[in-house]
């Protein structure tokens, strides 16, 4: 059947006429093509639709902390495989894969840095590393950071971005990290120190049901997905369409769950302002 054989010349046509590599970025929300330089200048916020694309932990720290002032805490904590988890992919395999992809050792970076000159303790989760989920290492690093803040009398800022919540691969040990970090925040509050929780797309489940919801002040980036149960599961359970804008930052603001929505270019300034109020009363 030579007639129906794929003619050879098609091969040359099948080459993708896509975006030349490394020059343009496509907005994941509105598909707009944005020149890479402009993309970086706008802090990965789409100039057309204002979609806030996720930042990696190092990018977020660069955005928030005064240049050259960040000192990382506990960079040498790595996960082990306490359950010997047998999934389609083993836990160590998954960890190695995400370490290679992100260049990070775990899903959170913690440290001390100055925000417009004010010394603070900072923790930033990275939603690329196993969905930014919290296992023993994330729980331990955040708890250590909070304890350090108490020791040094500093306020704490945690930027959350985790679609995963408590990490399945470490079973109930992950679940207990929720209690551990929340208990540490109780101590921080007792010490008269403040915690600003910054919610970014997406913050769900075990992260949202522990430290992320416990800020003295809670702010979110625009149109982030924030909540406890994922929208797909809720839809399956109630067998109904979800209301428009369900579980977005705007939805949480309207229901009294957060203090405000802050666009990325304003975030550092806004945090600094809050910190000033916290310190002013204690001069």
């Amino acid at each position: 059947m030579a007639l129906f054989k794929r003619p050879n010349f098609l091969l040359t046509q099948s080459k993708k006429r896509g975006v030349p590599g490394g020059l343009w970025t496509k907005c994941e929300s509105c598909q707009e093509l944005i020149y890479n330089k402009e993309w970086e200048n706008s802090l990965k916020v789409c100039p057309k639709c204002k979609h806030h694309c996720s930042l990696s932990a190092p990018e977020r720290i660069r955005l928030l902390v005064d240049e050259g002032t960040f000192e990382e805490f506990d960079p040498n904590l790595i996960p082990s495989d306490p359950l010997k988890f047998r999934g389609p992919k083993s836990y160590p395999e998954k960890v190695l894969q995400d370490q290679a992809m992100t260049g990070l050792k775990e899903a959170v970076m913690t440290g001390r840095g100055k925000i417009e000159g004010i010394s603070t303790v900072l923790a930033v989760t990275d939603s690329r590393f196993i969905m930014g989920s919290m296992g023993s290492v994330v729980g331990e690093k955040i708890t250590r950071a909070i304890e350090k803040a108490i020791e040094e009398g500093l306020h704490v800022i945690i930027v959350s971005g985790s679609g995963g919540g408590a990490r399945m691969y470490e079973g109930c040990l992950s679940l207990m990290q929720m209690a551990k970090t929340s208990a540490a925040l109780a101590k921080l509050s007792e010490a008269g120190l403040f915690f600003i929780s910054v919610l970014t797309h997406p913050t769900m489940a075990g992260i949202m049901a522990s430290f992320a919801s416990l800020g003295d002040v809670i702010v979110a980036e625009p149109r982030a997905l924030l909540g406890f149960t994922g929208p797909r599961v809720i839809k399956q359970t109630i067998q109904q369409e979800l209301p428009p804008g369900f579980q977005t930052s705007e939805f949480l603001l309207a229901h009294g769950m957060i203090d405000g929505i802050v666009e990325r270019p304003e975030l550092k300034k806004t945090i600094a302002k809050f910190l000033n109020y916290f310190s002013w009363g204690r001069r």
Binding site: P75, P82, E140, L175, K180, A183, A205, F228, Q247
Partner: protein, 357 residues
């Protein structure tokens, strides 16, 4: 039954769909009637043997023949069979026992263990969640506060109690009662039995995540002894929301997990049918959790599981709770809170390496 206790039973049901019958009548009805129809696949040999014994008894009564010896032998065999089947259960089968529709629920245990139960209602903010109940109770020589998840027995009650899935108002009521207990200096008992916190629009609107988070923070600082017991299902954050305690106990066939086996299977394997593997991997059984250092004691169940004998299950539970309360009452309150902090502080397994300079 004492009239006062009977009234309390009615009170406890909060005028719900079952308030016309005392729970014990209901229980007997369940145990004898639907029990056999609703038995799990691996329980079939037990049910068959039970049927044979019942038939034999009927036969001997009818014909007036003495078959006591045979019945005794069969009953011994039945007991052995229950033990054997229970010993070799897979994690997934234990999850099924934990979810067994005849398993004793919080109110069953409360009625069997407590001489008095004064239920308190409402979070003073939004409503009264029937999926998470609580109140003052007398247990032995102690006055305590008890809070616990509550599932329903029939369809109507199940719906009224949201299948044991609490809303934010449930967690807020629980916290209100626990803080009341702290003020009164009463020890707190929490009974955990939930598939998870309720997944719904209203729950999200009213801050499901915030309600749980606040409970985690506030429970860590309660200045009274707290004992938490997983009596059935320990479903993730919804369980932990009343689970920050000085002692965490679990029934032999209960489970406590970061995610349901079905949820884990659909995320990792991308097919729900893999829940058997997921249950295996998650290490969610009582004994696994004991070896991981998450629970302090595994409470033995009657042969075949708690649903075969409520009284024995309640007796074992009461003994364990009283033991832990009497130990905790010896610890000065300030120390108690610090020890509780350290208990959770130590949870987690990781590696820390020293970088080569």
């Amino acid at each position: 039954m004492d009239l006062r206790v009977f009234c309390l039973h009615l009170l406890a049901l909060g005028g719900g769909p079952q308030s016309g019958h005392p729970p014990h009548c209901k229980k007997i009805f369940w145990m004898n009637g639907i029990m056999k129809e609703l038995s799990l696949e691996f329980e079939k040999p037990i049910v068959e043997l039970e049927n044979r014994i019942a038939e034999l008894k009927k036969f001997s009564e009818k014909k007036g023949i003495d078959v006591n010896q045979e019945i005794k032998a069969l009953e011994k065999k039945l007991d052995q069979l229950r033990r054997e089947i229970l010993e070799h259960l897979t994690p997934w089968q234990r999850v099924q026992i934990a979810r067994h529709p005849q398993r004793p629920y919080s109110l069953d245990f409360i009625h069997l263990m407590m001489e008095e139960f004064l239920e308190l209602h409402g979070d003073r903010r939004f409503g009264d969640d029937q999926a998470l109940i609580g109140g003052f109770a007398k247990m032995g020589n102690r006055h305590i506060m008890v809070v616990g998840h509550q599932k329903g027995r029939d369809l109507k009650e199940r719906q009224a109690r949201s299948f044991g899935c609490a809303h934010p108002e449930g967690y807020r009521k629980a916290l209100r009662l626990m803080q009341l207990a702290e003020k009164a200096g009463l020890p707190i008992l929490t009974l955990i039995d939930t598939p998870g916190a309720y997944p719904g629009v209203g729950a999200e609107e009213r801050g499901q995540a915030e309600a749980i988070a606040v409970n985690l923070r506030e429970m860590s600082g309660l200045k009274v002894p707290v004992v938490a017991v997983v009596i059935g299902e320990g479903g993730s954050g919804g369980a932990l929301g009343i689970g920050v305690a000085d002692r965490i106990l679990i029934f032999e066939n209960a489970y406590y997990s970061v995610i349901s086996p079905e949820g884990c299977a659909s995320i990792l394997w991308r097919e729900k049918g893999k829940m058997v593997d997921a249950a295996e991997s998650l290490k969610l059984t009582a004994h696994d959790l004991f070896s991981l250092g998450i629970v302090d004691e595994v409470i033995e169940e009657p042969a075949g599981g708690a649903h075969h004998n409520y009284e024995v299950a309640a007796r074992n539970l009461k003994k364990a709770i009283e033991h832990h309360f009497s130990e905790l009452e010896l610890v000065p309150l300030q120390q108690l809170v610090e020890i509780r902090y350290q208990k959770f502080r130590k949870m987690g397994v990781f590696q820390e390496f020293t970088p080569e300079q």
